[in-house]
């Protein structure tokens, strides 16, 4: 039981960070022609490791606003924006833009699939919990 509920919390974090990465990637795409704009990306491995770590000061909460109240159990709210990094060693155009349209599109598609996978896992976890509670499959015939 506890394991399944913990898994749900993990997938919640994965979904949040994947959603955030999607936001970063779409910002890159929106600025594909902005002079001087440098492409960024979320270091997903680092962000998830920080988000899934036990409650410490280093733990990343995806907060919408730094004034948000800290969660019980310690840790200061940090933004996942701290795991966003510039893509270095990328060709830069004459106007100072380093967005590679193809790379961003591929990354967005890949991130989308990963998001769907996490959503499916979360959904299965909920079904599993429902089965444990009700004793029968939620979609099954009998109650």
């Amino acid at each position: 039981m506890l394991g399944a509920a913990g898994g749900l919390e993990f997938f919640r974090q994965v979904l949040e960070l994947r959603g955030y990465r999607q936001q970063i990637l779409s910002a890159d795409l929106a600025n594909a022609s902005t002079p001087g704009f440098k492409a960024v990306d979320l270091d997903f491995r680092e962000a998830l490791a920080a988000a899934a770590a036990p409650d410490t000061a280093d733990r990343i909460w995806l907060v919408d606003d730094p004034r948000q109240l800290p969660r019980p159990g310690g840790g200061t709210p940090k933004s996942a924006a701290e795991a966003v990094k510039y893509l270095i060693d990328r060709p830069v155009t004459l106007d100072g833009n380093s967005v590679d349209l193809d790379r961003e599109k591929v990354a967005a598609a890949d991130n989308g699939v990963q998001y769907e996978a996490a959503a499916t896992f979360a959904s299965q976890t909920i079904k599993m919990l429902a089965t444990a509670i009700g004793g029968s499959s939620p979609s099954g015939a009998g109650a």
């Binding site: 929106a30 022609s33 704009f37 933004s79």
Partner: protein, 139 residues
């Protein structure tokens, strides 16, 4: 929810590219307009994009994050005007030349293709976010 913030960002990209496209259309339509309301020949216009972070004012969040785009300015090209030899025209100067717009059709075409690609990329990002949000609703 971060996924829904993708929609305004991709939307800002689409709006900006649409404005760029309309500038291209304006330039092509006026490629031969030797007279505008200022009395001067038409000058090619270009949009200037600037990244804008939606949550800078709200939270003072780190600059390195998701940013939309906006059209910061529309500038007129300062390339020299073309000079066309047309002694019959009423606008011709003493040596028979007429000043014509500095629109470069080849450059406009390239600009148009680039705008199209960028627009498509934004649309793709928009659709992916929409699909994912719907998928999340079905958890």
């Amino acid at each position: 929810m971060s996924l829904l913030s993708v929609l305004p960002i991709a939307g800002s990209g689409m709006a900006a590219q649409a404005e760029r496209l309309s500038t291209v259309a304006s330039n092509l339509a006026n490629a031969n307009s030797s007279l505008t309301s200022t009395g001067q020949p038409y000058r090619a216009r270009e949009v200037v994009f600037a990244a804008v972070s939606p949550d800078v004012e709200a939270s003072g969040a780190a600059a390195l994050g998701a940013a939309g785009v906006r059209v910061a300015a529309v500038v007129e090209s300062d390339a020299p005007l073309r000079r066309v030899y047309d002694p019959g025209s009423s606008f011709a100067d003493q040596s028979g030349y007429v000043q014509a717009p500095n629109v470069d059709p080849v450059q406009e075409m390239v600009n148009m293709i680039s705008a199209q690609q960028d627009y498509q990329a934004n649309l793709e990002a928009f659709n992916v976010a929409k699909t994912l949000a719907l998928k999340t609703l079905s958890i």
